[in-house]
Symmetry: C2
Subunit: 198 residues, 2 copies
């Protein structure tokens, strides 16, 4: 007894999704076919549509349906500050704070030697060209404070400083309203090391 | 700053997958677009293909690309025994044991009042018609020993016995090679209750 090949191929195709193994792929396939055929058709359409329409913003590298994304096309943004983030979600998160009026560059990834992601895979050349447009005065590295995010920030700092650019890193420390008693040791240790003079 | 609508729609569409919330859907969308566009295209194609080609076997209700599935079309199978399972995976699992030579019926689900799945959603009428073809002598209920699987088995037993059919349930008990010391209490208690006379 073999399972029908189109079912087999669907299960295989679902396994490319991150975090989806053989068992979940099977469960997803049966769920789609048995309980949500219209959802499956919508997913197929959304995938094809996104693949056709989405590209990278020529300036900031985020996903957009046009040459320039909404933010890069906005003349009111401060061209002197360039905030570098890992993913579009990070950009949206910073925008939600309403605390930053400059421009962004989205790396669409991070250095991650263990996953085989090196400097060539992240298109740092596009960032270098962007940072050297003559208007940018400061590059604010806002990658995550994970091992990979930190490595990416260090690598980029070297690269950008070598071009004579001013480079900064968002602050690490206790959260607003945070209590020493409840913060993890690593954050507390770093907050002590990176203390600010008043 | 809004995210492009085709990206938004893709994230929405991915959320129909079981076990996928807003965060994973976002992660999946970025992964597909940034790291695996060919995989995404293959997934879109596999979905459309499966939706077009797959249908339910007219006799056993499993997924097939033809009117009858491979097993139902096989004249060598014993027509007197009908094994009822919840999903196609269960059928494949039983086939792997090489211990059953009869026919199957795949419910494609189970009674699950909490999820709003009642007798009308499971197409028990198709099973009833199948079991009353004149050749079936025994219906072997092989739904899972979960709460829903047990409820389904009890419901079906009533229904099928009322039609004068012989109904049995696969055995529950200790696994082969299992030791009393290591088996869970519920299984052990049931194994005592359902002891066989020798």
């Amino acid at each position: 007894m073999k399972i029908p090949s189109s079912l087999d191929q669907l299960i295989d195709a679902l396994r490319i999704l991150p975090g989806v193994g053989p068992k979940s792929a099977q469960r997803m396939a049966y769920h789609l076919l048995q309980r949500n055929q219209s959802g499956a058709a919508a997913l197929a359409h959304a995938l094809a549509d996104a693949l056709t329409k989405l590209r990278h913003c020529q300036r900031c590298n985020t996903f957009t349906e046009f040459d320039l994304c909404e933010l890069c096309a906005d003349p009111a943004r401060d061209k002197r500050q360039l905030c570098v983030v890992e993913m579009p979600t990070d950009l949206l998160r910073i925008e939600q704070t309403l605390a930053f009026k400059g421009c962004y560059f989205v790396l669409m990834g991070k250095l991650s030697p263990l996953d085989g992601v090196g400097p060539d895979d992240i298109h740092f050349d596009k960032l270098l060209a962007r940072a050297q447009d003559g208007e940018v005065e400061e590059v604010i590295l806002s990658t995550n404070f994970t091992v990979e995010g930190e490595a990416t920030a260090h690598y980029l700092a070297e690269l950008l400083r070598a071009q004579g650019l001013r480079v900064s890193r968002i602050a690490r420390g206790l959260p607003s309203g945070g209590e020493l008693e409840h913060v993890d040791s690593s954050t507390l240790a770093q907050a002590l090391l990176e203390r600010r003079s008043l």
